[in-house]
């Protein structure tokens, strides 16, 4: 019974239909939902992209980065500056991606030579330098009073309200970012990232330069951070030094872990967590927000150490155990493609040689890697 159901879920047309339904729902929803809900959904999109960037470097490549919020902030400042100076919006977007990318590349060239905790320390420095820098460069950043840029009001021809227009911008740009990263981590680069994460010596022995892949992952993470900064300005329309304060990096990290490290869906869940949990705790008891958030974080990690994205896998394992009579051979309970997380909780019966579709078959990596 369980096996049959999983079989149905795994057929390509079913998954495709599901994806299409999801897309249609996402497109139609803002036309019907009240304004505050749309605003919340758009905000979720912003932070889902930020968590996605963090996932590239941390979840997939295994390098601790505590500076992701800096790239969000940099993207936001570049956007605000560009808008303020009347640049074309396409150029603004490009700059908001490229500039954080270049900064990320420069930092990574130095930081990726370091291993383990040292790289974490270097990345901590980014927001710590960023805040006073943003205050100091007041001609560009507006100083401690911040800078606002209102460029995301709905154009008349759309007939949309502002909240709907902002939602669609986030959906489009965020959706494309998710697709690109999804393709990246599923392809040869993703496999290389995973091997670097697992064991750098093995990676080196296979002709994969850990250094180059770490720099690559860090640069991509910075660019995705820049995208989220642009989207931040679409939704929030204001940034200040407070935006890139260090502790937000920790919140992003917590959101990534709660959502599921090394998981695309996990990034989305992370965004939902980042935005909805503070709203929720405010409803419960505004004076106890930190306490409740801490409790929720602990609870999730106790029950689902792999993050919420690992829930289907955990459930499948449980149902598999309860109905042990049916032979599991027809569908090995391997991780589904989006949450291809090589965490220890993956059932041990997926040997790389038998599953040709998913995780890193060592042979295929060697062929694909440059």
């Amino acid at each position: 019974m369980g096996a049959q159901k999983t079989g149905l879920l795994r057929t390509p047309w079913f998954q495709l239909t599901l994806a299409l339904v999801a897309v249609v729902l996402l497109v139609v929803a803002p036309l019907l939902l009240p304004i505050p809900v749309n605003q919340t959904l758009a905000r979720i999109g912003v932070f889902a992209v930020a968590v996605l960037g963090l996932n590239v470097i941390m979840g997939y490549t295994g390098q601790v980065s505590l500076g992701q919020i800096f790239f969000l902030g940099l993207g936001a400042y570049v956007t605000a500056y560009g808008v303020e100076n009347g640049w074309n919006i396409a150029l603004v977007f490009l700059a908001a991606v490229v500039i954080p990318g270049v900064v990320g590349l420069i930092v990574a060239l130095a930081a990726a030579r370091l291993g383990g905790l040292a790289i974490a320390m270097v990345t901590i420095a980014l927001p710590i330098i960023g805040v006073p820098l943003a205050k100091r460069l007041s001609d560009v950043t507006g100083g401690s009073q911040g800078i606002s840029a209102r460029f995301s009001s709905a154009p008349d021809w759309t007939g949309l309200a502002n909240d709907q227009w902002q939602y669609y911008l986030v959906l489009a740009i965020g959706g494309i970012s998710f697709l690109l990263v999804f393709n990246l981590v599923r392809g040869k680069y993703g496999r290389a990232f995973r091997i670097v994460k697992e064991n750098e010596a093995v990676a080196g022995a296979m002709g994969i330069s850990p250094y180059r892949y770490k720099v690559l992952a860090f640069t991509i993470a910075s660019m995705v951070g820049g995208v989220s900064g642009f989207l931040y300005m679409v939704v929030v329309q204001y940034t200040s030094p407070e935006t890139l304060a260090f502790h937000h990096s920790i919140s992003l990290l917590a959101a990534m872990v709660v959502g599921g490290a090394g998981s695309i869906i996990g990034s989305l869940i992370g965004g939902i967590y980042y935005v909805l949990v503070p709203n929720f705790t405010n409803e419960v008891a505004p004076t106890l927000t930190s306490l409740i958030q801490g409790a929720i974080l602990l609870l999730v990690l106790f029950i689902l150490p792999g993050g919420i994205a690992s829930l289907p896998r955990v459930l499948r394992r449980w149902t598999g155990r309860s109905s042990r009579s049916s032979p599991p051979a027809s569908s090995p309970p391997e991780a589904s493609a989006p949450s291809s997380d090589p965490s220890p909780s993956t059932p041990p019966n997926t040997s790389p040689s038998t599953s040709s579709t998913t995780p890193p078959s060592t042979a295929s990596v060697k062929e694909d890697s440059p």
């Binding site: 390509p12 047309w13 495709l16 239909t17 299409l20 339904v21 249609v24 497109v27 139609v28 036309l31 019907l32 939902l33 009240p34 304004i35 505050p36 605003q39 919340t40 905000r43 006073p132 205050k135 100091r136 007041s138 100083g143 401690s144 009073q145 911040g146 606002s148 209102r150 709905a154 309200a161 502002n162 909240d163 709907q164 931040y232 929030v236 329309q237 204001y238 940034t239 200040s240 030094p241 407070e242 935006t243 304060a245 502790h247 937000h248 935005v275 503070p278 709203n279 705790t281 405010n282 505004p286 004076t287 927000t289 930190s290």
Partner: protein
């Protein structure tokens, strides 16, 4: 082939569903819900005949949680007492109770905007919230949706500029007001005085110096002999102090917002044998947190400014306002704090009194009418205010409280200084 067909039919079905659903789309026009002007006295959101709801988005956790919690506590104490007495009688003849809804924004601009967006439908007005970036983050959104964002606790002048901020009003004095008050005290003194200035290199320090210079601009007896700055991130100002001590100025105007730096400058100047009279900003002049640890000698003359009675000061221990305030805090704000560790507790208590005054003059239950009523308060002596200060909302460009009283440290606490000596 079959797969293709099924996918196509799924798409078609989805599209049909989408069209059907979008036909009955939501009933807003252009995303604005501030349509109160058409219906005359149709009540704005957040107000009924029995109650009015006020929102406070402020840091209740994180680094600024202490002052942030106080921005709710004083207001909750004031309104709790008012509700207990049966509510406030509004100008339209109805008696309403006041509900306070607090939202934690952790000093994060993005969360402040979120709190505003999520709750503007149920909240009549946002008030009392602490922080420049957080208040700035939803300032424009509040203007767009015509929601009052009033008596907020930030020294940023933009909130008191009526053309830029038609739906806003700041509460606490702007930085310029403080510098000006001290400048006036000096200008009014008899002897010739030399002044050395050290200020933080940002809008905070500049505001103080600007106000000070304006006040002394016409005075022949005051001469600024040296003016230096430091960065908010500096860990030491010894170099600047050494240079300033070289001038041996009579007065040291120290526009500094960093507590440890103030302590070390008091110590350093003593070490250098320079004993000027000091001016310190209101937020870095605490006797307990700064002057005592620095072993400041009251003989030198430490001046600061204030507009609130300090409950900790022995001079006000028996004061009627202070006694009532502490009782109300204990009784109605226990959820937040019962000890007024930060002046924001007193300030938000005054915010409560100012709001009550506005409510009394409100003849229609609308946000427009509330703003009108709020902007016409003159010389209100709110509880806990020092003699010589008052709430005055009629002047464009000035916050609700723009008068401060210069005070002098007497070794224990501050007392009002009539003249500079």
């Amino acid at each position: 082939m079959i797969l293709k067909k099924k996918v196509l039919s799924a798409v078609a079905m989805g599209a049909v569903a989408a069209m059907a659903l979008s036909g009955c789309g939501r009933s807003d026009g252009g995303g604005s819900d501030g349509g109160g002007d058409g219906g005359g006295a149709a009540a704005s959101p957040g107000i009924t005949d029995e109650a009015i709801t006020l929102g406070v988005t402020t840091p209740l956790s994180g680094g600024t949680a202490g002052p942030g919690t106080c921005t709710v506590a004083g207001l909750a104490a004031y309104m709790g007492a008012a509700n207990e007495a049966g509510g406030i009688e509004f100008g339209d003849g109805k008696t309403r109770t006041v509900e306070i809804e607090a939202f934690d924004d952790t000093y994060d601009p993005q969360k402040a905007l979120s709190n505003f967006q999520q709750n503007q439908g149920d909240v009549f007005a946002f008030t009392s919230g602490l922080g420049t970036p957080t208040n700035r983050a939803y300032r424009e959104a509040a203007i767009d949706s015509e929601v009052p964002q009033v008596l907020v606790q930030t020294g940023d002048p933009i909130f008191s500029d009526q053309t830029e901020s038609p739906w806003q009003l700041g509460f606490v004095p702007i930085y310029q007001n403080e510098g000006e008050a001290f400048g006036e005290l000096l200008a009014g003194s008899d002897g010739d005085l030399t002044v050395a200035i050290l200020s933080q290199n940002d809008d905070y320090g500049e505001g103080y110096v600007e106000g000070f210079k304006e006040a002394i601009s016409g005075s022949e007896n005051i001469e600024i002999v040296s003016e230096l700055t430091y960065e908010a991130t500096d860990t030491s100002v010894d170099a600047q102090l050494t240079e300033l001590a070289g001038t041996d100025a009579d007065v040291f105007f120290n526009a500094m917002s960093i507590t440890p730096l103030v302590i070390s400058s008091i110590e350093k100047s003593r070490e250098l044998g320079w004993s000027p009279s000091w001016f310190l900003p209101s937020n870095t002049s605490s006797p307990v947190a700064i002057l005592e640890p620095a072993a400041a000698d009251a003989e030198d003359g430490f001046y600061s400014v204030s507009f609130a009675k300090a409950p900790q000061s022995p001079a006000f221990a028996e004061d009627e306002d202070v006694v009532t305030f502490l009782e109300n805090l204990e009784q109605y704000a226990a959820e937040y704090t019962t000890t007024p560790d930060f002046p924001h507790c007193m300030w938000s208590y005054m915010v409560g009194a100012t709001l009550e005054e506005a409510f009394k003059n409100m003849t229609e239950p609308t946000r427009e009418n509330f703003m009108e009523a709020l902007r016409s308060i003159e010389d209100l002596q709110a509880p806990l205010m020092l003699e010589g200060t008052s709430v005055n909302t009629t002047e464009d460009g000035q916050p609700a409280v723009s008068t401060v009283v210069v005070q002098k440290y007497n070794g224990q606490g501050y007392e009002t200084a009539e003249s500079f000596d």
